[in-house]
Symmetry: C2
Subunit: 366 residues, 2 copies
């Protein structure tokens, strides 16, 4: 699509103004507000052309013009200026890096919070989808007579723990003591560290049972819980933040619309559906792929009916054996410039934290 310079400027004025005010904008207003050096009548003619091209539209005859989806698409692809982060934003992100180092578990939640806080749009962040979690280290810790604590470190340095309740009908009175547990931990590590849950064969279990000797009754509950924990680890979680921000947008003034979105953003399944739909569109709009992999999906480009009136800005991030997703939702007239710059800032931020945590390349050679 090719636009002459004047049409370009007028379209830009319309989109910017609408992003800011959410009101249809007329020719006279453009002439007054933006000094383009042409009269409102000329602008009217140009606007008429832009409407013919499908870039703008009007809600009814004789209201001002509003960008169409195609108009937003054009704006995003061709006239959006990339903006550097403001000092405040950059400082905020810096602080976040510092706070998060050493807290891999919270980083993802914090990222969602930061995103919505900086942009005032609802944010969604999913944990990385890992191909196959492997066990890095196991430790049994004594608790009391009837139970012990199982601590599990996975190859992503995620740490899980759970209480193991021992069967009460065991011969030996009570749980094994500290020294015994240390010995049992060593046996467990020798046999299953570095393996995924599928790799634990009957053969290995038998060997361990033999070595556990009089403590054999401890092994099965422990293995069962390890399996559960690894399964839970393979379950990707999603976090949202700033959902209430949608109340501030006039396009969601009707409570029913706001409620529909609220509902979707509280439900795990629909969150995944939202994040997932990017894939189909990715090929279609190559222009965005260039922007550090940040995708912008506008209005009806969304495959979910629920989002037909919204825009979605999303990107993937990578931890060496999996990728997660991070996204912002807003009305179609969202401030793409700001949202994209913040999102790309956060992506860099996450990368730094991930590197600081040493998750990058050292995991395989444990």
């Amino acid at each position: 699509m090719l636009l002459n310079d004047r049409k370009f400027k007028i379209l830009q004025a319309i989109v910017n103004d609408y992003i800011e005010t959410a009101e249809p904008i007329g020719s006279r207003t453009i002439a007054k507000k933006y000094s383009l050096g042409i009269s409102s009548a000329t602008i009217r003619n140009e606007m008429s052309d832009l409407e013919d091209m499908g870039l703008i539209g009007q809600l009814h005859t004789s209201s001002g013009r509003v960008p169409s989806e195609k108009g937003y698409r054009f704006y995003v692809d061709s006239m959006m200026k990339s903006r550097a982060l403001s000092v405040d934003e950059a400082l905020f992100l810096q602080r976040m890096i510092i706070d998060n180092i050493g807290h891999a578990e919270y980083m993802i939640q914090e990222t969602a919070k930061a995103l919505s806080r900086l942009t005032n749009y609802p944010a969604i962040v999913s944990e990385p989808f890992l191909k196959k979690t492997t066990i890095k280290h196991i430790q049994l810790v004594p608790l009391d007579e009837k139970s012990l604590l199982l601590v599990l470190v996975t190859d992503t340095k995620t740490v899980k723990n759970q209480i193991v309740n021992l069967p009460s009908d065991t011969r030996s009175s009570g749980a094994p003591g500290y020294e015994t547990l240390t010995r049992l931990s060593a046996i467990l590590n020798r046999h299953i560290a570095g393996k995924s849950i599928r790799d634990i064969s009957r053969d290995i279990i038998d060997k361990m049972l033999a070595q556990f000797a009089e403590n054999a009754h401890v092994l099965m509950p422990v293995l069962g819980i390890i399996a559960d924990m690894i399964k839970a680890e393979d379950d990707v979680r999603v976090y949202t933040s700033g959902i209430k921000n949608i109340l501030a947008f006039p396009e969601f003034a009707e409570k029913s619309k706001a409620e529909a979105i609220f509902h979707a953003l509280e439900d795990r399944e629909s969150l995944f559906a939202i994040l997932d739909q990017g894939r189909a569109n990715f090929a279609r709009h190559q222009a965005n792929a260039s922007r550090e992999g940040i995708q912008i999906i506008i209005g009806a480009e969304n495959t979910l009916d629920l989002l037909k009136a919204c825009s979605l800005i999303k990107a993937n991030y990578t931890i060496d054996n999996g990728t997660g997703c991070i996204a912002l939702i807003g009305p179609m007239r969202m401030d793409y410039t700001q949202a994209v710059s913040v999102l790309s800032g956060i992506l860099q931020n996450m990368q730094q934290v991930i590197e600081a945590l040493g998750l990058r390349n050292e995991v395989q050679n444990q």
Copy 2:
């Protein structure tokens, strides 16, 4: 306050109807809808009396009547029937108990979810406020050359873990190995298990330093992190669920009101302020104390301006060395009967989970 039987029934009809419909109700409607066997004119006379007593009011002359705060108070104190849980509700709670056994950490979040799900009111649940967390067990787990994992079990069986990054300028190359860490863990346990962070004296640290010998450089980072973790443990967290439900109430139709509540329910500080205000009111309305310690705070009885138009139903729950709080928020015309029965069901539920986790009396004698 004494009401004759007819006034009693009329007031009950007004409150019930208003809870259900959120519309002012007139004498004719009462006569038709509730078969009290008296005419609308008689009802008008009685309503006039009820208004003089301050139990009901009207928004403007010639609109129907609406319960006043005093009216709700009377309703809650004298005419609310206690209702048994429905089969569905009971089953839902049963399931929750099963799911939560062994997951002390999630129980509180799950409780908030269950509350809001069963009542359709926003729920707030705070973690127990513990007087002084003590260390029950410490375990050091090897991770890699530069770091190790510290696992801490406290007297509430909460388990925390954090990665300890060792100073890189240490003489000995890399972190201690598995056997060494096991030995160091034993030293730590011998000296500080059963103590709170304040009890760890300079003297104890010196002794441990001596025993750590060539691994002394590991001790200080570890102790620093233990202090942080205990401090974080003493920080009570609060969870909310179902905030979006307020959108369904006509009294929050104006977005600005809904937004104010949203804001308060997303902010930790104001959540505590909400939960805290019960104390002052507790003495005032003894009548409620009888209902298993469930308090009902209506409208202006709230000390927070924000809640002057709301009601709050709250209760405390106890784990042996601390108490937490659990609450529901709704419009003044909330369905007190249902809310109270669900809340009391959940309280019993929590008690069962707590007992199943063995947190009750066995903790002290570790």
